[in-house]
Symmetry: C2
Amino acid sequence: MIPKFLWVALWGATSSVAVAGSDLSSQAEPAAATANPAPLFANEMQRASVFVDRMMEAGVVVPVPKDPGGGYTHEQHKQNFKAINLAGQLYRNTGEQQYSDYVRDVLLAYAELYPTLGEHPARKNSQGSGRIFWQVLNDAMWMVDSIQGYEAVRESLSEADRKNIDDNVFRKAAAFLSTGSPVTFSKIHNHATWATAGVGMTGYVLGDKELVDIALLGLDKSGKTGFLRQTDLLFSPDGYYTEGPYYQRFALKPFMIFAGAIEKNDPSRKIYEHRDGILLKALRSTIQLTYDGYFLPFNDAIRDKSLKTNELYNGVAIAYSKTRDPGLLSIAEWQGRTILTDDGLLLANDLAAGKARPFPFKSLLFSDGPEGNKGAVAVLRQGDSTSGQALVAKNSSQGMGHGHFDKLNWQYYDNGNEIVTDYGAARFLNVESKFGGRYLPENETWAKQTIAHNSLVVDEKSHFDGDAKAGDKLSPQQRFFSAKPGSQISSATMTGAYPGVNFTRTLALLNVEGLGQPLVADVLRVKSETAHKYDLPMHYSGHITRVGFDLKSSVDARPVLGTANGYQHLWVDATGKPDNAQNAFVTWILDDRFYTARWIPQVTGEAILAESGANDPQFNLRREPVIIQRATDSKDAVFASILEAHGSYDGAEERTVASDSQIKSIRHQQAGSADLLMIEALSGEKSVLAISYDADPMKTHRALIGGEQINWTGYAAHVKLGRATK
Amino acid sequence: MIPKFLWVALWGATSSVAVAGSDLSSQAEPAAATANPAPLFANEMQRASVFVDRMMEAGVVVPVPKDPGGGYTHEQHKQNFKAINLAGQLYRNTGEQQYSDYVRDVLLAYAELYPTLGEHPARKNSQGSGRIFWQVLNDAMWMVDSIQGYEAVRESLSEADRKNIDDNVFRKAAAFLSTGSPVTFSKIHNHATWATAGVGMTGYVLGDKELVDIALLGLDKSGKTGFLRQTDLLFSPDGYYTEGPYYQRFALKPFMIFAGAIEKNDPSRKIYEHRDGILLKALRSTIQLTYDGYFLPFNDAIRDKSLKTNELYNGVAIAYSKTRDPGLLSIAEWQGRTILTDDGLLLANDLAAGKARPFPFKSLLFSDGPEGNKGAVAVLRQGDSTSGQALVAKNSSQGMGHGHFDKLNWQYYDNGNEIVTDYGAARFLNVESKFGGRYLPENETWAKQTIAHNSLVVDEKSHFDGDAKAGDKLSPQQRFFSAKPGSQISSATMTGAYPGVNFTRTLALLNVEGLGQPLVADVLRVKSETAHKYDLPMHYSGHITRVGFDLKSSVDARPVLGTANGYQHLWVDATGKPDNAQNAFVTWILDDRFYTARWIPQVTGEAILAESGANDPQFNLRREPVIIQRATDSKDAVFASILEAHGSYDGAEERTVASDSQIKSIRHQQAGSADLLMIEALSGEKSVLAISYDADPMKTHRALIGGEQINWTGYAAHVKLGRATK
């Protein structure tokens, strides 16, 4: 429940709401809204007051910096900037003096501490060292939150206190983050976004135009770096952030909050219209890049991160007050949270008024790169975003330091689960008892390596031989994308990940009659003039129920698959040599559904069933299964596979249906330069995924398969054949 | 929503309700109830009509038996008896002729098929072969459901149809299940309960006293076998079923349903009063033996089985109409289901009337054996049954063929998770693609073996050397049980599991000041006059974050721990020799909480970190971690350990607290015949678990530890010491 003092206090809140981020505050019907605040907002006030009251009871605690992420001083300073921020907002919404006093007292303590600080004792390297925290990034985050809390109370302070805090906390911190950390500040990178946002917002609050200018235009004010340049370069025209969804979520907060401040103080800049509304596009893309609310975990992603995160509470509220998009209300409803600004109040009231509509999750192509020409991420969806299907083709560029070597990688979601998986980052974020909460060594030796993904590995080396700088220079080419219902297709080519080898992967989400769920088809064509060893891993989630081919199992001593590039982390459970598409399959169960991966075996190859966790003396890795298709001594090669969901398992009713594959067979055929993948279901239904690789959307292609003539138009299509006579 | 025809039909339903199981039907306020049926009942009617209508549309399908569990004919015949049962109940509740006709038509098809049936082609052995199903048990289940459906429509059939179905289906099936399957029918075992229930209910419906008599008193009517004898021997005085909760759940249905029929047709037997109301006790015990609604998975249990199961929908409704216990209503609410008898109607109405109260889950001791002297299962609880703690001490007897060799085994639940785990059965129930859905070979080679549990293994052999018959002859002795809040303790001794070795285990759930959750203490005292190798495994769920001692890791080739008795299924990840209680610990994370297991190392021993999954070429086993304390060449020995839950991890807030152990150290000391386990928290709090092993509840004991004199009374107690001066 909302405590009594809030009911009273909120009456007086409206006049002071204007300092918050939105230019629409005047439309927030304040009286009605604040006289009887909507539950979402009231709960947020309640949550904030509980937290801040607890912090106030504990008294002002501003320890000398000592610990890395997860350690005591790290967490205390994080608690402090959260408290400064929320106490400031509580003061603005309630007018209660105690909150203003608390913000003042905490900041006065920082005013004593900050000038005494040098490099952090737990820094990883002096370049990136913060003052309050072990890395400069955390100092910037401290500033972004703290300056907002300070803004809310600054006018209420004595001139002496105000000057002391201005000079000894925020000016010094702004100087440290800008001229004092020129390398970080001038990056085109989310670390720089946090820094520029903190410095720029400080400039607005202190009325220091210099700080605002260098934040917006870079230290030399040329505009070659700084916040505006970041909005130009860090997002693609589709609002995709090159590091991937996890860091897009993270980067979004300073973008949205600083934009709000710019809009308020400098409306003539029309920041939200900048670059065709890129910031709002970015917010929408961030939401689209989720399944069941969780971010697609490719690149250095912590897998448990969902839309229920402070960055998105801010982003959704700010974006809603701009757009009034009712789909954003349903996201806020799922989040169950908002922020204490007038944007949050507006959102909470409209949600309570029943204005929410489902957010339109749909199949989309997200181009990568500032000009949108550095590959793309394709998301093919069917059904809803919580229990339906989502096929993700990661055809985007390297994504800088947090990128993985996973060109043309894919993931698959179904029935609320990630079926074909991405390991994400090897890190237990802020868990002190696990390597201090930092990235684990296995993030480099496993999580980033190609074999840890669902992409082509040549000669047991990772893409670009594991060199991120080389990777940033080259991108895949997205060649085709179709969201046609029932036959959705994405195709891309990667050249240069390996010298002399290029590969084109076509992934399709196809509806096949007689199957309960759509089927994934995967045709990977490799071209090389010299012979190589090819490995195509598929990491999956589930427990094997049937393997179609004979296995040579490592039953009483478990060998390691290789020696480097991630191979040293794979235990070999079994190997086998399936000889046709009838027996080249593995079936597994996950929750109440079965899955069968089926492929056309390589003539020169074998299949390897393995599990992560070898050479891991500290138990840093999760242990997860993988199926590897291997081709040895091959030049050109085609890997043709399907993934099928089938049947159901009901433990309560003790009823199981179709626990075995519903596919009779698959067959690959090359017709000129085209690839044909024929899929025959047990029901007798036959269809073909036909790929011409011809970009001309008007051109019609013909081919003969299974004695039948098929025609299709354009790059690729799903063609039904006559029903087999059984 | 409930279809219109039901609203009308239900008006007429009351007169025909009497045939259902309960003698309280007259009290079900029929008019009010059926005029506006409560949602739970209306939904059940709706669910039934949807299912039966689908079956009716598909037409009568009674295939010649062919497949084992999970196969087509198996599932179809299961669907059929479900349809016969529900259609009959729909007819009784709605009076709609179509339902009566459908039941008739299906049973007429069986009347043609049944006389032609011999042994089932997929039988495991001729003795247990069914006619309709691969095992006789399923035939009995078919009969229990079908006879209820038949009862509801029988009077409405033509004499010719009635005679045909009586003679060619139910009399023949009853003959097959009784005189035709004398071995099964005469067992004291749940298979026999299903058979006697089916035969006895058929006797009542057909007015065949002979069938009723042999069902109640056994084939020779001596009362040495049969249903009544089963109620005397299969449950302990506390209503515990010796095979364990999973099979107790399964066995309960025929007990409750047949009892209902006996009560209706033969009220003078006062079946529910029989043996001090054992059947209702059994129902309550079944519910108490769950955590978060899931059955404690010891012995041959399928782990995904919860209270949401048909047996309990029947049991809860029948028991509620007897007892009107409002706690049962909250169970029904959690189940979200009920049955279509007047018992179900009464329950649904009272639930809708807001009469539900929380079911009183509490710490309980469940004696085992007909006289309650064959050991016990102790459940120590704190907090609620969904997120609180539950410490389970399995001190019960072998439990016949489905029992595991796990004397004095334990499990621990916390925060909604099973922390110290029991593997349950190695079986994918009814999953055709996994060994036909039958018990896997690894159920014998792993799941039943002692090393697969959290109990003492001597010389790498299982209890009773893996001989279940030998195990059934001997039981543990429960020596002490105290549910005193904050210091709950259970202690038991096992003699004869190994020649010349006996062991006493004291498990305690203790509140220690400064810790967020209670702490588990485990003192296992082994006595032997000859030297042995002792292994004490602890199977846990979670991901290791810190190990306190140096590890010798199997990083690049993973050996197997042993050659037999389950050891062949364990991969060795690492071994180490912790030398004191400061470094003898392992910390892991599960969901948002951390756990640290800490123990006093064996002088002659080592610690082994291993994982299940070796010698498993078919991928039949789940891969789960285990910590093994090993003592070599030891006679008497004491294993003193604690398990501590600590800290929190919040991925959304990126906040982690206390990811490392909050315990400074533990210390074991023997004082005369007593064992003292001192626990010191980082906060400085010190306390002692003191065990005198003296049954006299009045006797006071004294001991000196850490320079302090402590006193306690009785078998065991938790004694606080003065706070350490740090």
